[in-house]
């Protein structure tokens, strides 16, 4: 079953002048239709201002569609009565780790969501423990978030969402403010959730290396879905990606250029191993 389904979704931001009068509207999402199956790892790609965050906020009922409909696990996000069920089922991790950690101690922050949901005290503790273990932050449970690195803070944020037992977790550029090692940490934790806990993951990013493991990739541009397919399919269209001002992973770029200059290589090479393999086959 589709855990997320958007049909013909459009969203307009209302622009106001200094006095608060409506000046006009900005269409941030423009007739987007897509669906995500339960258990999938989906990546959404696009350069700044392409409407990724706006789209993501619809999955958590933070924004309501201007046109079209979004269903989360079969629930229409416009239904007022379902809003808290939707927010529990589709958890959200944001870009800036400092601006989403509420607790002053790691374990208290992870417990924040379950507390809001009215989970009994004993069960909160169980959930906090299991979520912190799932992201490998259990040893840090008594720390102040201010003492953690960026990657660790994001893993705490992910644990905070996990403790709400969501079916789906939406991560809006969770690695944008991290250094390379922090980025790897977070992506590893996210992949583990998807593979071990079978949580549906929707990862928004503009780092290409992060999406090569996705089951499905959507590329957004000016509020529309410009391309979609498996990472292999998307990355084999190097020129289209470049037209959308997106780079490709270095290996893919190298393979593509080799191919342009006449080396017989398959399309959409994503990892160093694949390229080595393909080159060996050319020679042999």
């Amino acid at each position: 079953m589709d855990i997320i389904k958007a049909q013909d979704l459009s969203f307009d931001y209302i622009r106001r002048d200094e006095e608060g009068n409506v000046e006009g509207t900005t269409r941030a999402v423009n007739h987007v239709s897509l669906s995500v199956s339960q258990g999938d790892f989906v990546a959404i790609l696009g350069h700044n201002g392409s409407g990724k965050s706006t789209f993501a906020k619809h999955l958590n009922a933070i924004l309501m569609p201007t046109e079209g409909t979004v269903w989360v696990d079969g629930m229409d996000t416009r239904e007022e009565a379902k809003i808290w069920d939707i927010r529990q089922e589709a958890g959200m991790v944001f870009q800036n780790p400092d601006n989403q950690i509420i607790g002053q101690v790691v374990e208290e922050d992870v417990g924040f969501g379950p507390e809001n949901m009215g989970v009994p005290t004993k069960e909160i503790w169980e959930r906090v423990e299991e979520s912190l273990k799932a992201v490998g932050m259990y040893e840090y449970r008594k720390y102040s978030p201010n003492k953690l690195s960026g990657g660790q803070k994001q893993r705490v944020s992910i644990a905070g969402v996990l403790a709400m037992h969501p079916k789906c977790i939406v991560l809006d550029e969770p690695t944008a403010m991290l250094d390379p090692s922090g980025r790897r940490e977070v992506i590893r934790a996210v992949r583990a959730l998807n593979m071990v806990e079978h949580v549906t993951v929707i990862l928004i990013t503009h780092y290409m290396e992060e999406i090569i493991h996705a089951d499905h990739v959507f590329v957004m541009d000016v509020g529309k879905v410009a391309m979609h397919g498996t990472p292999k399919e998307v990355f084999s269209r190097v020129e289209e990606l470049k037209a959308l001002r997106l780079g490709v992973p270095e290996v893919t770029q190298l393979a593509w250029e080799l191919k342009q200059s006449g080396v017989n290589l398959p399309e959409g090479i994503l990892t160093v191993e694949e390229l080595t393999e393909a080159l060996l086959q050319c020679r042999g």
């Binding site: 906020k57 927010r87 509420i102 002053q104 374990e107 809001n116 906090v128 709400m164």
Partner: protein, 278 residues
């Protein structure tokens, strides 16, 4: 810089006082402050000192750490002392140049200094031994009856704990912006007061913009995690009174009774023992 102020900062260690329910500590601090200001007989301060001394000893907070925090406000204490000493009218004790010290002035100044220092030590003992989170939890629980008259108790305590969480982040940001502006030639240290205040504008504007953006982000993150006010919320760490908390309430009662007793007693005694305020 700003972070050097140790006054009232939580001091991490394990002690009986640390483990007390925050409500006991809040009520205790309040009673202690009341006792300081209701008492007007000098000997009672011996009782107060013994009480405060025992609590400090039990708290395992090093005296040095506490007094270091006092340094920040020593100036205020001295100012209050000097003002009281010289500006209170009454029977002249000594006079030189244009200054006069009166009997009443001396007594008020001494009482004020004692009261203020005990007040500061007493209330900082509470924050030294209680995490900010515990403190806001305790406050929320204590003020809970006020919900009936529509005081937004939960919201106030949530605001306080968020403020406490963001103070270090904003301080760090202030530091960062300050350094960035200094690197571009901004000068925060020289000039008169007005020039200094003006120099702060390029610091405050980016700080406010960033604080508002953070507030906006945080509100969204809280909503995304199903936050909808205090109704129907459960607690991960609910406050529960233990035996030691009741014992502490008992000791507090005893302390108040002792203060009252000694106060009344020394009011009826002649001589040095009856040195009182005013």
């Amino acid at each position: 810089m700003l972070r050097d102020i140790t006054l009232g900062q939580y001091y991490q260690t394990d002690s009986v006082i640390h483990r007390l329910d925050p409500r006991v500590k809040l009520v205790g601090t309040l009673l202690f402050i009341i006792s300081l200001f209701v008492v007007n007989q000098f000997p009672v301060y011996l009782v107060v000192l013994v009480f405060l001394g025992s609590v400090i000893a039990l708290s395992h907070v090093p005296l040095g750490f506490m007094l270091r925090g006092m340094k920040a406000i020593a100036f205020l204490l001295i100012l209050a002392f000097v003002c009281n000493l010289f500006l209170t009218p009454g029977d002249i004790l000594v006079s030189f140049w244009k200054l006069r010290i009166t009997k009443q002035g001396l007594s008020t100044a001494v009482f004020m200094a004692i009261r203020l220092s005990l007040l500061i030590v007493g209330s900082s003992l509470m924050t030294l031994t209680t995490t900010p989170n515990h403190l806001t939890d305790g406050l929320e629980k204590l003020l809970n009856p006020l919900k009936k008259i529509r005081v937004p108790v939960h919201e106030i305590s949530m605001m306080m704990s968020i403020a406490l969480r963001f103070i270090p982040i904003l301080l760090e940001e202030t530091d960062k912006i300050m350094k960035a502006q200094m690197a571009r030639g901004a000068d925060f240290d020289t000039g008169n007061l007005i020039q200094k205040a003006k120099a702060l504008i390029p610091l405050l504007v980016p700080l406010f913009i960033s604080a508002f953006r953070r507030a906006n982000d945080l509100a969204m993150a809280m909503e995304a995690r199903c936050y909808r006010g205090g109704d129907g919320r459960t607690k991960m760490k609910p406050l529960k009174y233990e035996k030691r908390d009741f014992a502490a309430y008992g000791l507090l009662l005893f302390y108040m009774a002792a203060c009252a007793g000694v106060n009344i007693l020394s009011a009826h005694l002649p001589g040095i023992l009856s040195w009182h305020l005013g």
